[in-house]
């Protein structure tokens, strides 16, 4: 136990950095993912094709590969980062947005056909149908799965610790190396800080699911 208390500043620093990575990548992924989903259902074939290819490739790529690409391969290709956090955010948001896009798309599919037909029958354009009628309803139904994707994002940010970013897992590795005799407690401390984010978020997901569920 002592090892956790002694290194509390490191834990808090790592915790804040994990939060930072998750929040920034989360926001980017939400925006980019929704755009991808909109492209996927749009009448323009090129956009549909691009969105589909992107989602299919990224969803089948391991996150470690994405990180390896951003943190190891990109610098060799001449794209260098002042801070590896940038590479981590690129990898995390590129990866997560594919899952967000799939969630939003399934939400769009869950909106009854009549809604879009009614909107079209009063003369709305595609962009209006999507932004005023379909997406607001779709986003509402996909909030719970979206929160689950964000929980996964928080957990996934741990991979950044292996690619030169000192977040929770990164500190955990460092502390474990420094305190060979108290590895168990070091890692229990790390686990505690992760659960501090993921378990409450999980409860929010369940609550929201009950609240916003539209009974159709």
């Amino acid at each position: 136990m002592d090892v956790i208390i002694e290194n509390l500043p490191a834990y808090v620093d790592g915790f804040l950095r994990t939060l930072f990575l998750s929040v920034v990548s989360g926001i980017i992924a939400l925006i980019f993912g929704t755009l991808l989903a909109a492209a996927r259902v749009s009448p323009i074939a090129a956009l549909r094709g691009f969105s589909m290819t992107y989602v299919e490739i990224v969803r089948n790529t391991p996150l470690t590969i994405a990180f390896f690409f951003a943190a190891v391969v990109l610098p060799r290709l001449g794209v260098t980062f002042q801070q590896f956090e940038v590479a981590a955010i690129i990898a995390l948001s590129a990866y997560t947005s594919a899952f967000i896009a799939e969630a939003v798309r399934s939400g769009v599919n869950s909106v009854p056909v009549g809604q879009a037909e009614a909107a079209r029958s009063i003369g709305m354009k595609f962009s209006q149908v999507l932004s005023l009628i379909i997406l607001p309803q779709a986003l509402r139904t996909v909030i719970p799965p979206m929160i689950n994707i964000l929980i996964a994002l928080v957990k996934n940010s741990s991979v950044a610790g292996a690619f030169y970013v000192l977040e929770l897992f990164g500190y955990g590795r460092q502390l474990a190396n420094a305190n060979g005799d108290a590895v168990l407690w070091v890692l229990v401390g790390v686990a505690f800080f992760y659960l501090l984010i993921t378990v409450p978020l999980g409860y929010v997901a369940t609550l929201v699911e009950r609240k916003v569920a539209i009974s159709r």
């Binding site: 259902v41 590969i65 001449g78 897992f169 890692l187």
Partner: protein, 277 residues
Amino acid sequence: MSSVLYDVPGPKARRVSLIGSIVGGVAIAGLLWWAITVLAQQGIFEAQRWAVFQIPDVWVLIGNGILATLSAAAVAAVIAFPLGLVLCLMRISDVAWIRIPTRIVLEFLRGMPVVLMMFFVLLVFATGSFTAVVAGLVLYNSAIFAEIIRAGIQSLPKGQREAGLAIGLTSFASRRSIELPQAIRRMLPSLVAQLVVLLKDTSLGYIVSYEELLRKVQIMADFLGPAYLFPVFFVAAAIYIAINFSVSRLAIWIEKRGSKKAAGGVAHVPVAGIPAK
């Protein structure tokens, strides 16, 4: 497919869409062109960089990497599924002192990063990296399997369990012979989809020094020199995507086949005016 969102395009809309397609296509092509130019500037397309793939040893190394990846995934899946089944039964048990601790354990396992569990097993139990990878994958995925199967059981009509209990089955016997077979069948697409996640997560073994495909890539790049990093990485990524893509397709195929079966294969007997559900 999504023709619901817009009308069958008339001549004007077709023109707009065509222009959009061309503009979008040009923009995407431009992006690709930019990427290719950057890569070409770094000399990625020089034939000599790709000549490494003529060396048999490179393929032996890649093959070993694939084998290590697949064997970790296979062992983990084979252990995680039955364990998930047991955890699911404990999670929905009628006995509170089994149900509640199981629930806490499941919340705990689902809330932690897989790589942390691998690292934990590696250091605390001082195992080899293979065991650590498999243990991390088993701990996490058995919890997920348990939740998937539980969702399947909860999606069954209530009458299934009631009927089982009414004919004198014990609670466990009803779960085992009536509910579980239906739940697993119903959830097969999700279970297979979770296998993709499991397969992808084997690459976390890279972090605990398990010599799977990605680690082999790095070893090769260290050995051959950084110039060969991109070609080898590119091939490894393509292999990963090809494997995962096939498993995803399998899940989709099962889903389609399942829904076809459910439409015709399962008896829908209306009971005295109550429409079959």
